[in-house]
Every structure is written in C-alpha cells, then in structure tokens.
Amino acid sequence: MPASLAAPDIRRDLVGLLPKLRRFAVTLTGDVAEADELLQKVCQRSVVKIHLWNNEGRLESWLYAMTRQLWVEESRRHRLRAGSSRPTAVQPGQATLHQLHAPEKSDSHQAVSALPEGLASIFLLVDVEGHSYKQTADILGIPQSVVASRLASARLAFAAGGLSRHSQRS
C-alpha cells in the first residue's frame, strides 16, 4: 500500500537562501531583473517539488540545479518566441559576452557580468561556495573535465579585469 507522506515545507529555508540563490541566478542570466523573475519560478516550483529532494547533500545544490534547468527552459522559450537561432546562455563552451546595459550596475555586477558566459556560475560554485568539481559539474550539467579549464579562464579574467581597472586609476 502506498505511503502518504507529508512533504517538508521549505519556505522558511528558501527565504534564508534567497540571497545566495539570487546571486547564482545572476550568474546565469547576467541581468538582475531576469534573475529575480527566474528565482520567483524556482521558489514556486521548489515548494511543490520538495518531495523530489532526496535529503542528501546541500539543499542549495538541489535548488541551484533546478535554477539552471529552469533557466535552460526559459532561454529556449525566449528563443522560440523570438524566432532567433541565437545559442542559449548556458551552452557549454561558449565565450560570448553578456549583453548588459543597466546603467546603475555596481562594480561587482560589472566584474561578474563582464565574464564570458558560463564562467561566472563555475567560479561562484567552486571558488566562493566550495563545491567540488564533480558537484559543480552535476549542478551545471556539464562534463567534469571542463570545470578546471573554465574555472581557470574565470580566474584569469578576474585578474585581467582587476589589472586594467588598477591601471586606469593610476
């Protein structure tokens, strides 16, 4: 006989994780407004789908994977609506720049959004949040073998950006 289980309520956890989830969403979308829109869908979906989480690992890892998956879906829908054949923002191996023109962006936003696409998420997961290469590959749906090279590209891009800002000031 099937067991009827009450799914855990993660709404309180979600509120606590919002800043981190939002930061991750920004690395995918490159745009704060789009990130908030995406995050709203992630929150709604995760509350309903929490019974699918197997309670192993970090809750945010599961939420990150869901965010990435929804973003892929969203990108594809936008592309279909626009009738454009432009590749999605999260295809592995791409190196096109985010198109961001928000005038009020902070230095931090500029530094992150200036990274070639697909690199910011990897940097965030490994360098900032301490995920292993395997966990990062699982969350982002990419082969583990490409994590190190993309991470190196992200780090060198940050280093180059910092140097150019430093030389502009002096």
Binding site: S4, L5, L52, S108, V126, D127, S149, A159, G162
Partner: protein, 279 residues
C-alpha cells in the same frame, strides 16, 4: 624548443585543479617541480590566485545586496506542499543477526526438513524429474520494470533505440501491432525534447512501447505505454520515485501510460501533461 603535450590540459587548467586540491598526487608533484623552476608557470599561478581573490570579493559584494521584498512575499504566499504518495523501489532493510542458539536451531530444522525431502524423493526412484516453470517475478510492477529499463538506457550513449527518429511510420505501425495500443507520436519539441526513436520492452510481463526523447541537456526521457484491461482511468499524474528515476503514470481507455526520467527533473509532470494530450 619545447614540445607541447597535447594529451594534457593547458597549464592554466592544471594549475586551477592544483589550487583546488583536485589534482592527483603525481600531478601535484609534477606541478610543484614546475612551479619551483619555471617563472612563466609561476606567473600564471599568481594570476590565478589573484583572480580568485578578486572574484570572491566581487561575489561577496553581490551577496550584500538586498533581496526584493516581492520575492520573499511570493515564497510566503506559495501554496503549502501537498502530501504525496511516495512508493520506493527499495525495500526496507531486514537485518538478520541471529544468536548462536537461534542459528543452531535453524540449522537443525533445515537439516531435518532437507533430509525428509531427500528421503521422500529418494524412495521414489521412478519419479519424473520436476522442472519448475519459469515465471516472471510477480512482485515487480509495471513502473518497477520501466524504471529499471530507463536506468539502463540512461547510461547508454548509442544504441538507445531500435528504430530511429526518421522511421516514424514504421514505429507507429510496429508498436501499435506489438503492444495493441493505437497512439500518435507526441511532438515534445515545445518542451525542449527531441525525438530519438523507439523500442519495445517487456515490463511486468507485458509488451510495452517506449518512445525515447532527449532533453536539452542530453538526458533521456521516455514515454511508455502498454495495454491493460482492469485499471480505472486516472489523470492525477502522481509521481513515483524509484531512487534516481521518476515515473509519472496514468491510465486511460484501457491503456497504461508513463513518462519516465531522472527524478531530479523538475519538468517531468509538465511533460506528462503534454504527452497525455498529444499521444
């Protein structure tokens, strides 16, 4: 002139893995030596370190930004999660740890029973050899078997299907006659799935059609169907979790249907909704 080793990743990637503790012991030793003796390598290493530090600062700043109140409100006003039927493939573990006396008693009982059976058959020399009929495992359900098939095919990179995506007419004719169910091939491109082809399975002892799709991440998602006679129509799309595999079954018009994919796939129920309309 140095000869570049094309088998190894670029030095930047190797150093990144070294910094993160993801390099093997041998690789770490090799890079230690390289860093000690090669100024260019050391410069790359320093740049990676500096970039790491600068990037972290930028991301730390992002975390300080206030979260829009509307997001918090939308979470608090989200509907409460529903109680779901969760049926696990994994059986509860039964731990057998008999004491010495219990083990001895069990061994004696088995000896007596075994001896009795042996005596009974031994005393009938003309008795015909008994062969047990091969019967399918009655404990396994249709979702169990299609989840098991899905788990196997998820790991395949080729030979996933018997008939490919260009043989749609043949697939429909073949599976209609083999399974005994009339169906249309659902076009799931709107859900980001591309049709890969089809195969015939045996699940719970019944012929089962499996239509195979891939999502944008290359993961396999299947639509399965079989003919059944006793089930009532259901359209509630309750997901059954079989460890890493999610199965969303429903019944309609004497046919059992299911969408099968990774249990982490948040969009399985959307796909099931689409399939139930299109198939």
């Amino acid at each position: 002139m140095t000869v570049k080793d094309h088998r190894k990743p670029p030095i930047e990637a190797r150093l990144a893995a070294y910094i993160d503790g993801e390099a093997s012991h041998e690789e770490k030793q090799a890079l230690d030596e390289l860093l000690a003796g090669d100024a260019d390598t050391h410069k790359v290493y320093d740049n990676l370190r500096r970039g790491s530090e600068m990037g972290r600062k930028a991301f730390d700043e992002l975390l300080k930004e206030p979260v829009p109140l509307a997001l918090v409100r939308s979470i608090k006003s989200a509907p409460e999660p529903k109680a779901r039927d969760v049926r696990r493939l994994a059986r509860p573990a039964v731990k057998l740890a008999p004491s010495g006396k219990q083990a001895l008693a069990a061994a004696l009982i088995l000896f007596v029973i075994g001896g009795g059976i042996g005596y009974f058959f031994g005393s009938q020399p003309g008795a015909a050899r008994i062969t047990l009929p091969l019967t399918p495992n009655q404990g396994r359900t249709w979702p169990d078997d299609i989840a098991a098939a899905q788990r196997i095919y998820l790991r395949q990179t080729s030979h996933v299907v018997e008939l490919g995506p260009n043989q749609t007419d043949e697939i429909v004719a073949w599976l209609t006659s083999a399974v005994g169910v009339k169906f249309s091939l659902p076009d799931l491109s709107g859900a980001g799935l591309s049709f890969q082809g089809a195969r015939l399975l045996v699940a719970a002892g019944k012929p089962t059609g499996q239509l195979v799709y891939r999502n944008i991440d290359g993961e396999i998602i299947s639509v399965c169907f079989f003919k059944e006679s006793m089930a009532n129509d259901t359209n509630d799309f309750n997901e059954i979790i079989k460890d890493d595999i999610g199965v969303i079954p429903w019944h309609r018009g004497g046919t059992g249907y299911a969408v099968v994919g990774a249990s982490s796939d948040a969009l399985l129920d959307d796909i099931a909704n689409r399939v139930s309309v299109a198939i």
